[in-house]
Amino acid sequence: MRILVIEDDTEAAAFISKGLREAGHVVDHAIDGEAGLKMAGACDYDAYVVDRMLPKLDGVSVLSRRRAEGDETPALFLSALGEVDDRVAGLKAGGDDYLVKPYAFSELLARVEALGRRRAPAQVTTRYQVGDLEIDVITRTVRRAGRKIDLQPREFRLLEYLMRHAGQVVTRTMLLENVWEYHFDPQTNVIDVHISRLRSKIDKDFDRPLLKTVRGAGYTIEDAA
C-alpha cells in the first residue's frame, strides 16, 4: 500500500514510517496540514494517517477538504483527544477510524491495513471463505469442510469480522470496538476467552488451525498453506 502520513512530530512520524515500511508499505510523510493537503492532491494514496492537531491546517480540515474534492481515500485519525465526542467529531469529518495516542504500533498497523482492504472493489460480499471454512452472512451459517457449525450470535459476529479481515491482524481493541461497540480497555482477558471459545468450535476438530494468535498484537484468521 502507498500511505501518506501527515504528522508534525518528526520522531513519531519516523517511527510510524519505519514500521509501515518494514510491513512492506510505501510511505510518504508531510510535516504540516498544508503540505499534507498538497501531497494528497498530487499522488494517489491507498490510505492516510492524519494527526488531528497540525500546524497551519488541522487534520480535520485537511480531510474535509479532500472529501469535498471527492477523494475517498480511507483515513485514520491519530489524536491525543480520546473521548467519544472527539472520536465522533473525527469520524464525522470523513475519518474512517480513530486511534488515540499513545498507541501500540501493532494497533496502528492493523488498523491501517484494515482500512486499505476496505478500499478494495466495493462489491457486496455476503459469503466469506478462508481455507475450508466458509460463512454466509445472509443465512448466518458457518461450515467447515462441509460440516455445519453452530455459533452463538455474538460468536458469529466475531467470526464475521475476522473473516472480513482475513489475512490481516485484528487487535483486541478493534474487536471490542467493532463486535461489541465498546471504547474502553478491559483489564481482564475478556476478548481472549471469547476467541478461545470460538476457536474450540471452528478449529478444534480439524487438523489445520485457521484462527491464530499474533503475539503482542492480536489475532488473524488465514489459511497459511
Partner: protein, 474 residues
C-alpha cells in the same frame, strides 16, 4: 460619592424622582386651582350682585334711598367695602373708605385689586396702628337719565386680605412640599444606591480576591433572602464547583506525579544500568521497560478518563438508557472470562425503567466492577449482576461476589484514587478502577454504596451498587 451618583440604582431613582415630583406638582396645581379659582370667582359674583341690587334701588327709589342703603351696608362689620361719590363734584356721600384707592383711576369698568389702610383697633377700642389690607372691587356710574349732567359713582369691593394670605401660604406650602419630595426622593435614592453598591462591592471584592488566587473566598450573605442574595448564592455555588474542579485537577496532577514518578524513576535506573550491561541483560531490561511504559500509559489513560468524566466532559449526550440491556451485554461479554477464572457469572435483572445516562460510561463502570471482582474475589466462585427498581422508582445496579470482601473500616477508602488495600498489593492494576466507577456515579447523580456481598462460609463477599435517580423527562 461620585461613584454613588453613577450607579444604575441612582439613575433609576432619579427618573422616579422626576416623575413623582411632576405628579406632586400637577396634584398641587389642581387642588390650588379648584380651591382658589372658585373662591375668586365667587368674590366677583358677590360684588356684581351687590352692584345690581344698588342699581335696582337707584332706579326704583332714587339717590336718597341709595345713599341710605350704602350707608347702612358700609356700617356692617364684614368684608364689604362701599362708597357712593357724587360726580363730577367728587364729594363722598356715603361709604366706609375715606377716599377711592389710587388703583381706581386706571381701572376703568372692570374688577381691580387694590390696597387700602385700615386702622387696627386694640381690645380697649383704641387705634393701635395701621393695617394695610387688600381688596377687590368695581366702580359703576349711576345716572338718573342718559343725558343728566350729574351722576353717581358706586364703588363696591370686598376685602380679600385673608383670602390672599391663605392663597400665598398655600402656594408656599405646595412649593415646599414639592421641594421636600425631590429632596426625600434623592436621599432615598442615594440610600438605595449605597446599599446596593455595598452588596455589589462585596461581590466585586470576592471576585477580585478569587482572581488574585484565593479560591476559597465566598460572597458574604446578607440573610435578606432577596434577589441579590439569590445571586450571591448562585455565584457561591458556581465558585464551589470551580473550586471542586480545581481541586480535582490538582489531585489528578498530584496523583500523576505520585504514580508516574516511581515507574519513571525505575525505568531511568534500569536503562542506566542496561547501558553497562551485556546484550542478554539489555534485552531483559528493554522488555521490562516496555512493560512499565505500557502500564504507565494505562494509568495515564485511566486518570484522564476519570478527570474528563468528573468535569462532565466526554460523557457524550446523556439520554434514556436501559440499564438491564447494558447489564445483559456486559454479562455476555464477561461470562466466558468469568467461567475461565472459576466464577459463575449470573445476571439477575428485574424490569426497570430507563435512566438518564451514557451507555458508554455505565458499560465501563460495570466492566470495571466485573474486572475487580475477577481480580480480587479470590477463593470465591460466584459473581452476580443485579438490576432492579427501588420503591422510589430509582434503578439499582449492583455487582456482588462471594470473595473475601472488604473490612468495614476500609470501605470508604476504596473509591479513592490509587488506593489498593494491603491485601491486594501483589495483583496488577492501577488502583483506579473504582475511582472511575465513582466518577461515573457522580456524573449520573447516582448513589454509590458498598455492602456485604454473597455469603460463602465465613466470607462476607462484596457488593458495590449504583442507584440511579428516577428518570425525569426534560
Amino acid at each position: 460619592m461620585f461613584r454613588l451618583l453613577r450607579t444604575a440604582t441612582f439613575k433609576i431613582t432619579l427618573i422616579y424622582v422626576v416623575v413623582f415630583s411632576g405628579a406632586v406638582a400637577a396634584l398641587g396645581l389642581f387642588i390650588y386651582q379648584q380651591t382658589f379659582g372658585a373662591s375668586a370667582r365667587q368674590t366677583d359674583q358677590i360684588i356684581n350682585s351687590e352692584i345690581e341690587t344698588l342699581a335696582g334701588v337707584f332706579a326704583a327709589e332714587g339717590p336718597g334711598t341709595l345713599r341710605r342703603i350704602v350707608r347702612e351696608r358700609a356700617a356692617w362689620r364684614d368684608d364689604g367695602i362701599y362708597m357712593l361719590i357724587g360726580a363730577p363734584s367728587g364729594a363722598v356721600l356715603a361709604g366706609n373708605l375715606t377716599a377711592l384707592p389710587a388703583e381706581a383711576l386706571t381701572a376703568g369698568q372692570g374688577y381691580f385689586n387694590f390696597t387700602y389702610e385700615r386702622p387696627l383697633i386694640d381690645a380697649a377700642g383704641r387705634e393701635s396702628g395701621i393695617d394695610i389690607r387688600q381688596g377687590r372691587g368695581k366702580i359703576r356710574r349711576f345716572r338718573a337719565a342718559p343725558d343728566a349732567e350729574t351722576f353717581f359713582l358706586v364703588f363696591v369691593a370686598r376685602d380679600i386680605s385673608n383670602f390672599e394670605r391663605l392663597r400665598d401660604r398655600t402656594r408656599r406650602q405646595i412649593v415646599q412640599l414639592g421641594l421636600a419630595t425631590i429632596l426625600l426622593g434623592l436621599l432615598i435614592g442615594l440610600a438605595f444606591s449605597q446599599s446596593i453598591m455595598l452588596q455589589v462591592d462585596a461581590v466585586n471584592k470576592t471576585a477580585r480576591a478569587i482572581r488574585a488566587g484565593d479560591l476559597s473566598r465566598r460572597i458574604p450573605l446578607t440573610g435578606a433572602g432577596d434577589e441579590l442574595e439569590n445571586l450571591a448564592l448562585n455565584l457561591n455555588g458556581m465558585l464551589d464547583q470551580i473550586e471542586r474542579l480545581m481541586n480535582g485537577m490538582r489531585e489528578v496532577s498530584d496523583n500523576i506525579a505520585h504514580d508516574l514518578r516511581s515507574p519513571l524513576t525505575r525505568v531511568r535506573n534500569r536503562l542506566t544500568d542496561a547501558l553497562k550491561a551485556d546484550p542478554a541483560e539489555k534485552d531483559a531490561a528493554l522488555r521490562a521497560t516496555l512493560e512499565d511504559a505500557e502500564r504507565m500509559i494505562g494509568t495515564f489513560n485511566a486518570l484522564l478518563s476519570i478527570a474528563r468524566i468528573e468535569s462532565g466532559e466526554g460523557a457524550g449526550a446523556m439520554e434514556a438508557v436501559d440499564v438491564v440491556a447494558i447489564a445483559e451485554e456486559l454479562a455476555e461479554l464477561y461470562e466466558p472470562a468469568a467461567q475461565e477464572a472459576g466464577f459463575g457469572l449470573a445476571l439477575k435483572a428485574h424490569p426497570a425503567p430507563p435512566v438518564r445516562g451514557s451507555r458508554a460510561l455505565i458499560s465501563q463502570a460495570i466492566a470495571n466492577l466485573l474486572d475487580n471482582a475477577l481480580k480480587y474475589a479470590a477463593g470465591g466462585d460466584r459473581i452476580e449482576i443485579l438490576v432492579g427498581r427501588t420503591p422510589k422508582n430509582a434503578v439499582r445496579l449492583s455487582v456482588a461476589d462471594n470473595g473475601p470482601g472488604v473490612p468495614a473500616n476500609d470501605r470508604e477508602h476504596i473509591f479513592k484514587r490509587f488506593v489498593r488495600l494491603e491485601s491486594s498489593r501483589t495483583t496488577t492494576g492501577s488502583g483506579l478502577g473504582l475511582s472511575l466507577v465513582s466518577a461515573v456515579a457522580r456524573a449520573h447523580g447516582a448513589v454509590l454504596a458498598v455492602s456485604d456481598g454473597l455469603q460463602k462460609g465465613d466470607r462476607r463477599g462484596l457488593c458495590v451498587s449504583l442507584t440511579f435517580p428516577a428518570f425525569e423527562r426534560r
